[in-house]
Point group: D2
Chain length 211, copies 4
């Protein structure tokens, strides 16, 4: 009985916190679903994975709904994956997020999670357009915001799954026709099957090291 409780106590509750990409991640074939299957196949049973993604979310949307959607769920680990809309909505709606505000809210999320004894994993925004030569419209800004996240990870001593960098390397190698979609995404942003698999694997590499 106490064995059972110990065992249960060791189970890690992980919430993936993000935007539409994460909202799709819990669907069949999504990166969170794939990770669940992957762990089951490897006989890893002490992780409980769930998603808290909402389409169109920017960093301040995460901050606003974090108390209810994340902290109230008492997770052990939260994986924050945000940034695409903060950059993208600048040109599509005029409602992106300034770089300094992005950093401010990002750090506020981390601070509040840590104040609740929740471990944090950071993720850089992967891509808006899959061209491999930094000629997608938002590449400069995505690189800039990714660097903000890397800097936060560094000075806060937090693990980061650097999808921005990993996607770029993958595209250089695999996207030889330099197309803007169809390699890891369906539309330049949202993951296709290969993308979901790639993300599931890369995220797990980082996640499994969080003790």
């Amino acid at each position: 009985m106490s064995f059972l409780r110990d065992s249960k106590a060791k189970s890690k509750k992980v919430i993936f916190f993000g935007d539409s990409i994460t909202q799709a991640g819990v669907q069949p074939g999504g990166y969170i679903s794939l990770m669940k299957t992957m762990l089951a196949q490897q006989g890893i049973t002490d992780y409980e994975l769930s998603g808290a993604g909402i389409g169109g979310n920017k960093v301040y949307d995460l901050y606003l709904r974090m108390p209810e959607d994340v902290i109230a769920q008492s997770p052990d680990i939260v994986v924050i994956w945000v940034g695409v809309n903060d950059v993208w909505h600048k040109s599509s709606y005029g409602t992106g997020t300034d770089a300094d505000k992005f950093e401010k809210f990002y750090r506020a999320i981390i601070k509040q999670l840590q104040a609740n004894n929740i471990k944090v994993v950071l993720v850089t925004p992967a891509t808006i357009g899959e061209k491999n030569d930094y000629s997608n419209q938002q590449d400069g800004d995505l690189n800039k915001y990714s660097q903000i996240i890397r800097n936060i990870a560094k000075d806060s001593n937090l693990p980061v799954c650097d999808l921005r960098s990993l996607f770029h390397s993958y595209e250089v190698k695999n996207n030889t026709a330099n197309v803007d979609r169809g390699i890891l995404t369906v539309d330049g942003v949202h993951l296709n099957d290969a993308g979901n698999k790639f993300v599931a694997e890369e995220m797990w590499k980082v996640l499994k090291e969080v003790k």
Copy 2:
């Protein structure tokens, strides 16, 4: 002695919470400074007015810094005056605020203030450009966001100082040359002497009714 304490206990602490317009409001000649003088001249001594305005702030910036800058100061009343940057920054930086997000954060601010037993006064964004015929670039959007605030005031049963409407009436009457600045503002947005006086008077009309 107890008389003194009672008297002191009845003093109302008011924080004006907003952007650069409110940041300037505590300067000599600013609308908050003028209101202080105005109250002193009328022998009204049971109000303690202070400003919590920061340049460039949008509604979510207020939400982020509210715990420290406002709630920790234990005010009795908070006057929320925000919206100009939420609209303006759409075209100047691509980082304005979506209408639905504006409303969501606005309501979240009110909710949290009320949860701390703080009374709330709403204010509509006055103007970006003083032309009197709704031909300033952001007039449509300012009207839209002002209507959001009026709707919140109505369904939350909160007092509103409708500067948007008051400024328009003033401009129709006094801005006969239909210029875009110099009547109530120096630059179309920030208050000149007449503007500070006008705002001090109009805000006080609403504020004095808050019991």
Copy 3:
């Protein structure tokens, strides 16, 4: 024979020059098609109406394709109806047209048409959103650009079909529920049946006076 030639010589070739609204205008039920029917019913046979509208066009797109699409067709009268995309694309793509450039290209179009002995009719951009209280996001900017066109019409002594003003009056009277579409448009911009009829009638009032 000479009688025939004289008769033919008196026929006025009119090109409606614009964006997607005009592109739809030549479709069955479109405002140009309706105007043709209207004239036929009234026994007016000396007008030859055609459309030169392309979706997404802004004022400089008209300027670029004017030699081929308009001047090469040798019209007697050109009705210029442009401006919605110049305003709208500011927020939807970041690629609208600055007010001063709008005026510059607009005047350049008129100048070149007049240099080819073509008579010109101006039209103000009708609407982006049908709310009747100037609370549609782009209302301020649409009013501003419409005023530019009215000023050009005035100082160039040209006829103007002021749809911006006519639509507003119509909405105030008929859009009592203050909805943003469905009165004269299907989506806030493109004309429905009532809108096509309204535009056909209002344009004809101006067009028939052009001698």
Copy 4:
């Protein structure tokens, strides 16, 4: 005497056609002024260099004023350097230029110059921000628009001075602190002394090959 006329006939009139960078290029120390000095020092006397740059110009502004400012001056060669504002103004004013429209106007300029027997040299937009790792906000879009120009150069068999690529190589080598200004520009966009020298040299390398 006839010798003199022949000699004079061989003098090549070159117009640098562009935006504020070119407007500054004719000032003392500007890239056009430096090129003049450079050629004089090398004893090259058969080039007549002048600038036709106007601040804030985008590709369609060049198209509009080309007949008067360029073609009427009867140049032998025109160096087109445009693109920074087409990209930059998307986020700063909401009035940048769509990629497809950029290409359309760019090709229209070339076509009209060539129709007037003027030789054309293309130039890619150098930089908005000098960070060397493609983390300047507009880097993706600048790369995209530069690629459009390279493609035009290729399929039109025209010489191109690829400043975008040359600046990047220079920054990688010389901007080791990865600052965003001060290496080749004063503000991330407009050339400093080193930048003017660099541009003068690189442009001349291309220009001297135009026969």
